[in-house]
Subunit: 411 residues, 2 copies
């Protein structure tokens, strides 16, 4: 079964709101083996809606938005015209509207009662969270579902009304997805390295590369008749990839890299602190945006100025003067200082030039030293990044996490 989504409303087209509804519907439908073939956002003009309705591709068309009581909401009219039917007032929808106004103690206007007027060929999906009813149409072998655009009203109707009805109709073709998080290897080299696996993927299984800042997510998708077979085939491919690039696989689920680190360190009962300069708190924020970070993360010295590198981390003025703040010597003293002062098992330290200012011929913008270590073992490496300020900050943090992973995998 295939589906498509049509979202109606100028606020999406002018970028006033981000269309998160479609992503949510896509995820839910995908979990139920319904393949979304297209998402389309159109203006709340009658011609634009009519145009979208007359050019549908899928078995199921989910339409969201444009169901409010005001004049600019015209989805219902466009639907009635498209199906060539008139309006009738639906009793269940009317009672729902009255009930909502009664409990909220607001005056019921005629425009509110009109929300219970629906195209004559629809079945109403009662919207207990709002006054605009959901509507279900069957027309020339296709299903059209019209839902309010307010996210919690839409979500309730999809979960309680739409999906149960669609699942009843579904023939049992299966879809299965799995994501592998890799890092520390570029997309092209990764593709070349796993080419023998990719070239021999079982029938019906696809591999997609989703690169982002030093990480590449590999998404395996399978479509077919036999869910158990698909699952087992995809799991075999995952094992092959893990065997091929063991040092680059950080998770076999779709989670951020730093969360994979927090989970590994939580499992091992290890603590972490951070000494960061050019990343200016970003690495600490990456870690602490996750619930449960406090089981691992002790804190950080954000030693942005040289004097704070000395007072917070005990970096010597002489080392700073001789080697400069962006040097292997300084990053190692930052690491040692944090190990001494913060009482954590492991430390990550970063110092560099994020840009756009501060570069020199010897140390251009993008020169970054990162280090990771415990009292027993340390690793340090230099990065030469080429991005703009924010990308350099993000890449430095990600590379530093990869460095700590490397160390943790080696002990």
């Amino acid at each position: 079964m295939t589906a498509e989504i049509i979202t109606i409303g100028d606020e999406i087209l002018i970028g006033q709101i981000v269309d998160t509804n479609s992503a949510w519907i896509g995820e839910k439908f995908n979990e139920c083996n319904i393949e979304i073939v297209q998402i389309r956002s159109v203006s709340d003009k009658k011609e634009a809606i009519a145009d979208a309705l007359s050019d549908v591709k899928a078995d199921v068309i989910v339409i969201t938005g444009g169901l409010g009581p005001t004049k600019d909401d015209i989805t219902k009219k466009a639907l009635a015209e498209f199906f060539g039917v008139g309006f009738i007032r639906n009793q269940a929808a009317l009672e729902n509207v009255r009930k909502i106004f009664l409990t909220s103690n607001r005056a019921l206007l005629e425009v509110n009662e009109q929300q219970a007027d629906v195209p004559a060929n629809c079945s109403v999906l009662v919207n207990v969270n709002g006054t605009a009813p959901g509507m279900w149409f069957e027309h020339l072998g296709k299903v059209y579902v019209s839902l309010p655009g307010v996210p919690f009203e839409m979500k309730y109707l999809v979960e309680e009304e739409v999906l149960p009805r669609l699942l009843k109709r579904l023939d049992q073709s299966a879809i299965y997805h799995h994501t592998i998080l890799t890092a520390g290897i570029g997309e092209s080299l990764l593709a070349q390295t796993i080419a023998p696996i990719e070239d021999n993927l079982p029938e019906g299984i696809k591999l997609a590369y989703l690169p982002k800042l030093g990480q590449v997510r590999l998404r395996l998708s399978g479509y077919g008749r036999d869910a158990a077979l698909l699952k087992s085939e995809i799991e075999q491919v995952i094992e092959q990839i893990k065997k091929r690039i063991p040092e680059h696989v950080f998770a076999v689920e779709d989670i951020p890299l730093e969360l994979a680190l927090l989970r590994l360190m939580t499992q091992r009962g290890l603590t972490l602190s951070v000494a960061e300069s050019c990343t200016g708190g970003y690495l600490s924020h990456l870690l602490t945006r996750h619930d449960g970070a406090s089981r691992v993360f002790r804190g950080a010295a954000v030693s942005y100025s040289n004097s704070l590198k000395e007072t917070m981390l005990g970096v010597s003025a002489n080392t700073l003067a001789v080697y400069g703040a962006v040097s292997e010597e300084v990053v190692m003293e930052m690491l040692a200082g944090a190990l001494n002062n913060h009482g954590s098992d492991y430390v990550i330290a970063i110092t560099g030039i994020a840009g756009p200012g501060g570069g020199s011929e010897e140390k251009p913008v993008g020169t970054i030293w990162i280090a990771a270590g415990s009292r027993h073992k340390t690793l340090a490496t230099k990065l030469l990044l080429t991005g703009r300020r924010l990308q350099n900050i993000e890449r430095s943090a990600i590379n530093a996490i990869v460095l700590l992973f490397k160390l943790l995998h080696s002990v």
Copy 2:
């Protein structure tokens, strides 16, 4: 001029990522008076792309995604087939690829060089942030632009290449936008307070409210034939608003709140450091993501654990035991400790419970203490936030910045 957006990639259809690119493009184009008539997301299958390309409605078609070096990225092939042309290797794109690989010290593979192969009828838009070139096509009176899906690469190309070219083609009716950044006042109260100004806006000038996390941006837009008149009328409205709510206007341009703070402190030659607990580095990151932050920002103690509150900031064990880490007493000791240790003119301190864990009846999730001060004057206040973890972190940081502004305006 009308435009439409086609985003390519299964990851959007299955809800793995939310399509924020389209909202961003919609906003930018709208600001330039280019009307987006449709946004469409399709699968990365050649037929789906061909189908979308053969059914376009607007003058300009912006296509994002599907330009990577791997096999699942087939936008380029689909475009060449659609236009009926072959491929040529573009010298500028090739040099860009080589330069990126050279500076990042990675091995250049044949698949990377192939990224410089483009359909023969395109003009290349050089992508300095990545290896996939942007492509500009003119075909049967329409413009087709193909851009990478990686947000920062796409944004750079839209701002530096695509919009300047499109604006040249636009008829020259004037558009003028100006943004006022307000904070510390809710949207409804703000609207009520400036209603007399809003009700008397000059002909052709519109006022929009863009609320976000304790801030409200007021966007004044004017459309008309006379650019100078528009500009002067909008400037008069800005003066009226500044006079009406002087304590809430933090900038008269569209910049983030923390950048307004950095600029004010730079002007005054003041320095800042931070003592943050529940925000975990986020406030420091907010400040240091801006170029030039080092003129103001000295550093931060991210004292996530209680023991680091003691060792990094000198908070007394007794205060922690008696009042708890989330208390006025502790936030004031954090502030005093940072003033003593970090050598900055001003300090912001934050401690609280971001959630979802850690709340109690007495101190529920969302209880946050913030403080701002110098050696001469301090302010502290308690927040009771109701969001989820990340919102609570962001709101705490924004409120703390507003608190420091209040202090700076009073001296």
